[in-house]
């Protein structure tokens, strides 16, 4: 296949070549980076929370009035809920994953440290907490019922026994031996607290946090003012009916309170990642539109060239070129233009990635995106030019003899 004649023919229509090349270049640069961003968002959204999300839901109760005794209400509620058929576990909680709302604090390995050893979310719950969250206890033990106390925002001494996630335990006790390990809450609290159990994984509430895998369970009920939060885990398949049942039973048992935020964990996941999902959809749409426009541009330009060069094609056919030769000619021409465009595009892709890294602290574009993009766009170009090229190959040799 003679490259020289194709090349010199192309040089005569430099502008059109540049136009297609530029489109291909920009498309490669944008599509590679956009796909990378989509990949990152999908990875973020798919992180497991460590909870059983399919069968769990939460409900929030806020009491009103001067005589509201939140502690007795909580105990009555828990007893009521635990007696309902279809309920696997119920626990009082103050926070949960996928909610962007909760309590976090620093822990120290020595008393009086100026900087914390690790930062963690605090999940106040009772001995049914692990069951309700659906977390997996992998070392040590669960809380004992007698260890469960009460805690309020005005108290200064958090509980002395805790359960940590594996990630937090590794930060606090890098040498191992986390079970039985001691730590300090800091802040003039010079009595140590002890880790009695390790759960495999549970996410902190804030999905954007660096410390999302650091969670500590504390054995206490934490009413916030007059409000209490319950996490209910249903038997598989019974969640939706149980949600309605729980709301009506709690409302019936006590009318001096407001029940709200009856939400399943699945719905919480969808809500908390809504922006990431939206970004993924928007980027995906732009990628498809870009590829479409570029393909149409190639089709349009190639059709135009075929029309311009009908005479030449006819002449070549008359001189002995086969249909395949003509087809190959146009495909090779397209391949050259696309390649030149892709080389520029590759440079643009890395430049764009660098700019994103500097402006938004985004991670670097992995090396394999551009080569894969090359292959895809080569294929796209070849497919796009196939139609006009086939039309060109069907130009009869007799065209050369016509003068009009």
């Amino acid at each position: 296949m003679e490259i020289r004649p194709i090349f010199s023919a192309l040089m005569r229509s430099k502008v059109s070549m540049i136009l297609i090349g530029l489109q291909v270049a920009l498309t490669l640069a944008i599509v590679c980076n956009a796909l990378f961003i989509i990949g990152q968002r999908l990875d973020t959204m798919q992180r497991p929370s460590g909870m059983n999300e399919a069968d769990t839901f939460t409900i929030h109760s806020i009491g009103f009035g001067e005589d509201y005794d939140v502690r007795s209400v909580m105990n009555a509620d828990l007893a009521l809920l635990r007696g309902l058929p279809g309920v696997l576990a119920v626990a009082p909680i103050n926070a949960m994953p996928l909610s962007n709302s909760g309590w976090n604090s620093g822990l120290s390995i020595e008393p009086g440290q100026r900087n914390s050893t690790a930062n963690t979310a605090f999940y106040f719950t009772d001995d049914k907490g692990i069951d309700a969250y659906g977390a997996e206890l992998v070392a040590g033990r669960n809380f004992k019922p007698e260890e469960i106390g009460y805690f309020t925002m005005n108290d200064r001494r958090p509980p002395r026994v805790t359960i940590m996630t594996r990630a937090l335990a590794e930060r606090m006790f890098p040498d191992g031996n986390a079970v039985g390990g001691q730590f300090y809450y800091g802040d003039e609290d010079n009595d140590p607290a002890t880790v009695v159990g390790i759960i495999e994984h549970l996410q902190a509430p804030w999905v954007g946090s660096q410390n999302i895998d650091n969670v500590m369970l504390l054995p206490a009920l934490l009413p916030y003012g007059n409000s209490s939060n319950y996490l209910i885990r249903a038997e598989p398949g019974r969640r939706d009916e149980l949600m309605k049942e729980v709301e009506s039973r709690l409302a019936a048992s006590n009318s001096s309170r407001i029940l709200r935020n009856l939400r399943s964990m699945q719905e919480r996941r969808a809500t908390v990642y809504a922006e990431d999902r939206a970004m993924t959809i928007i980027l995906g749409t732009v990628i498809i539109a870009l590829l479409g426009i570029t393909a149409l541009g190639i089709v349009g330009m190639a059709s135009f060239w075929v029309a311009q060069r009908t005479r030449q094609i006819g002449t070549r056919r008359a001189l002995g070129a086969t249909r395949t030769d003509i087809l190959r000619y146009f495909q090779t021409e397209n391949f050259i233009i696309t390649t030149l465009g892709l080389i520029v595009g590759g440079v643009l892709a890395y430049a764009f990635s660098l700019w994103l890294m500097n402006t938004y602290q985004a991670p670097r574009l992995p090396w394999y995106y551009v080569p894969v993009g090359f292959v895809c766009l080569w294929l796209l170009g070849q497919l796009a030019v196939l139609g006009p090229a086939l039309r060109a190959s069907r130009v009869p040799p007799a065209v050369a003899t016509r003068s009009v």
Binding site: F64, M153, M279, G300, Q308, Y360, V404
Partner: protein, 434 residues
Amino acid sequence: MFNYYLQLGLRSLRRNPVLTTLMVLGIALGIGASMTTLTVFHLMGSDPIPWKSDRLHYVQMDNWSEDNPYFDDGRPPDQVTYRDAVALMEAAKADRQAAMYKISMPVQPENPEVKPFLALGRATYSDFFAMFEPRFRYGGPWDRGQDAQHARVVVLNHATNETLFGGEDSVGKSVRMDGVDYTVIGVLGEWNLRFKFYDLTNGAFNAPEEFFMPFTTAIDTKKRASGNNSCWRTPGEGWDAYLDSDCIWIVMWVQLDSAVRRAEYLSFLDSYVGEQKQLGRFPRALNNRLLDVNAWMEDQQVVSRDVEVQVGLAFAFLLVCLINTIGLLLAKFTRRAGEIGLRRALGASRGQMFAQYMIESGVVGLSGGLLGLALTGLGLIAVRSLYAQYATVAQLDWSMVATTIALSIVAAVLAGLYPTWRACRVQPAAQLKM
């Protein structure tokens, strides 16, 4: 001649419907994408209170621990403590000042048909209303005297007044919240806020407040804030110790009516912090800030990074569409070399040919713009469904409509420059030979 060229342009566009459709569609898609993202970007970033945004300032002081800054880049914390907010309010050194925090209260309606519900509101001082200018439908705000007296009054928003009192004038009526009766002193009219620019740290895009009550009265109820609370050391036991602590949970705005007043207030803040340092507080270096509304919005990145990336991407897409259009226009004009040659031979000057083809590009641009406007409308509907909380900033207003059409025509004309220039260079004689 303009009409003639217009007709010529339209006729030639009609002669080649496929090519025309491709061109118009290409421009429309690019314009639609760009204007959708640009609308959201523009509305999110635009000045929410242009007539006084340079007079309202957000107070920031750095009472944080000397071991770690609050923000990694050294900016002062985004809220202030109770004792500092109250001290600033009592000093009253600004033209107006309002400390505030987000609060939620159960409402116990008298009407037995309305179930008790949790209302989200704001505890603030009376100057809030003069500073941020919500319109009142009935009654008005409480005054500074009532702030001092811890009066049990409440301002309802439009929707809550509908729920509780059927939308009637409820001034003077009583509302029971969390076991205490409050008197309605005012009802707001519709407040078309795009987002709550006065509280960017506690959910600016969340629903607007259902009620407002005096800060001093809310403190009496010992209710903690529903917004963010951060402490660098654990406060003492009990509510009073909490109020006295270095925990930050209060938002503080001041109105300073001139640059001179701003400079005075900043030096007042510096001397206040100096005094507090004498008492052993504020261990970090002096780090007070008074950003105005727009500077604070930028500092808090109201326009999210995602939106910025989307705008950039959409305009890159528009660029690709335009390059596409240049190619198509080039193809189109080159095919008409015969016609061009003929008209030149009949006496048309280069300038007239240029004008004709520019007008033709403009027509493509206008059609692309109109279709692009429809696509922008669709795009904004999609944005509203993807981002529920951005419903208020994903709306077409007249300035955006005008920008869409203008951008489209300019883009098409720019795209047409090179093809037109090429077309005008056609030699009549070469075309007339057969």
